[in-house]
């Protein structure tokens, strides 16, 4: 049994966010972190590894410096890493990204009791689409918003978070789960893990590596193969000066409610 975890290096949105002229994010100029939900997926995989001794393989698509993030996840306890990296893959939207990641997972190979895990969504794109799309391309059952995961044989029981409650779902492996932060508390790297991180196996899948997969077609990957294109990106306007309403009567309250409703706050 193995668990393949898809992770993404994202800009640290607590710092400055920069945008390229074509509207895509200027990833090179920003401080990066591992997408927080993805770390929950990594932790869920490592917990299953603690229980069952299974193998944990971590996969990312990104520029060569994303190797640093993969090494950090190896230092937390993952066994192997795969960096999917090629110019041809750049500028992909969620459709193209999931196409490429699905082909990478095909290349790694999925067996009967394997599990693919993703984070719920990445804090840069905020779409929450890549996980479910990978599941579709690989014809896997999917459970999103996993808040609890238990594995018994070839079945996984998942507590799935909904807006106003939870549902419990039993799913057969192989399957894909997307994880939320309520699932667990990600562990730290360990000192010995750091010293082992650079001797663990790490492979780079280039365009050449994946090009024979039926999912990889120049018309379905990268910026050109993306059905959606970003037309423009802009910084939301700053909030203006605050408005003070004076009075302690119903009329003032109604006025306040009206103002808030107009701005779609309530």
């Amino acid at each position: 049994m193995k668990i393949i975890v898809c992770v993404k290096q994202v800009p640290d949105t607590s710092g400055k966010v920069a945008v390229n002229p074509d509207g895509t994010l200027d990833r090179a100029s920003m401080q990066t972190i591992t997408n927080p939900d993805d770390l929950n997926a990594v932790e869920a995989a490592l917990k299953l590894k603690d229980e069952t001794g299974c193998k944990v393989v971590v996969v990312t698509m990104g520029p060569p410096p994303a190797e640093g993030m993969l090494r950090e996840i190896l230092a937390r306890g993952a066994d192997e890493a795969v960096l999917v990296s090629a110019r041809e893959f750049g500028g992909s939207d969620t459709y193209a990204t999931s196409q490429i990641l699905a082909s990478a997972i095909n290349r790694i190979g999925l067996e009967q009791d394997d599990v693919v895990m993703c984070g719920r969504q990445a804090i840069d794109g905020d779409t929450a689409q890549v996980g479910p799309q990978i599941a579709e391309k690989l014809h896997l059952p999917q459970v999103t918003y996993a808040a609890e995961i238990h594995k018994a044989g070839n079945a996984i029981t998942v507590k799935r978070m909904l807006e106003d409650g939870y549902m419990t779902i039993k799913v057969k492996t192989p399957c894909l789960l997307t994880c939320i932060k309520e699932l667990n508390e990600p562990r730290y790297m360990s000192v010995s893990g750091v010293f082992e991180a650079y001797s663990k196996p790490m492979e780079v899948f280039s365009y050449e590596t994946l090009k024979d997969d039926p999912l990889i077609d120049p018309t379905t990957i990268g910026l050109k193969g993306s059905p959606t294109n970003i037309l423009t990106s802009f910084t939301p306007p700053l909030k203006g000066a605050g408005v003070m309403l004076e009075g302690a009567d119903k009329e003032t309250c109604d006025k306040l409610a009206g103002l808030l409703a107009k701005k779609h706050i309530i």
Partner: protein, 380 residues
Amino acid sequence: MDFHLTKEQQMLRKMYREFAENEVKPLAEEIDEEERFPMETVEKMAKLGMMGIYFPKEYGGAGGDVLSYAMCVEELAKVCGTTAVIVSAHTSLCCAPIFEHGTEEQKQKYLPDLLSGRKIGAFGLTEPGAGTDASGQQTTAVLEGDHYVLNGSKCFITNGNVADTFVVFAMTDKKAGNHGISAFIVERDFPGFSQGKHEKKMGIRGSSTCDLIFEDCIVPKENLLGKEGKGFKIAMQTLDGGRIGIASQALGLAEGAIDEAVKYTKERVQFGRRLSQFQNTQFQLADMACRTQAAQHLVYAAAMAKENHESYSEKAAMAKLFAAETASDVTRRAVQLFGGYGYTREYPVERMMRDAKITEIYEGTSEVQRMVIAKYLGVN
């Protein structure tokens, strides 16, 4: 000459920082206020391999290097001086002498538990009458058949109330002076061994500091560390390494105080301007940062020299002297930049100033460091 950290060291720095921010900083004020040893933090550090960083894996260590250890103490001290010294005393003063001077049997017996953090270590050298003059040892050890009988006491022992394993020094031959001192590994439950009460200190108040008392304490003969009469040398060598740890603690305290002062002076407004816009603030912070950077280079150079098995006694003494005096100076200036608020316990800088003072005293006072450096220069 290479001023770059390795990839592993950079990754570790990130890990230490995350751990310090999330696990250590939130407790710092409470353990200082309550003078409480943060056992829960030690358990977490143990799991992550932070209690045996630079020792080989075959003895249960994390397989790291001395600079990676110094950086750990530094990052912890940025947010909590107490947590930093717990790691430093355990690693440098107890694990290191057993690793460097122990027999294979002693290493096999004691190191796995210590390096994995299942057990905590301490070092017993200082006595009421033997501080800077460490040769004035009054504790005695007499060989009787298959064991030594220890009598006497030790004072100001870091980790004293919580440690399981102690490296202790005693006179086996009073007439031989320095050459009559021997080192022993003492376990917490050896008959005749007990600990005194927790000392009430000005700073590092969460750290456990107490007396050790030996009343006809029975120590098996095989627990002699090194040869009889070589104890003074073991103590001095151990303290050379320990000084890198304390220098790292002092460095971290200075860095932590600068972080706090930068943040505060950018927020606080007087005369319609942020404090950071006044040139006095800028010049103070520039001086503080400059001294601290210089201290960091001395500390890292000493750690690298130890790692590379070069002579580092004088480098450790210089690093500790300069870093400790920097920590005292920088934390005091940080309190000043905070003004009246800096004097209250609502803000962390007064704690940093209290914690910094001890770095000029323990593991050899600043005056002892000057003695070591002068001897290195040949002016003795």
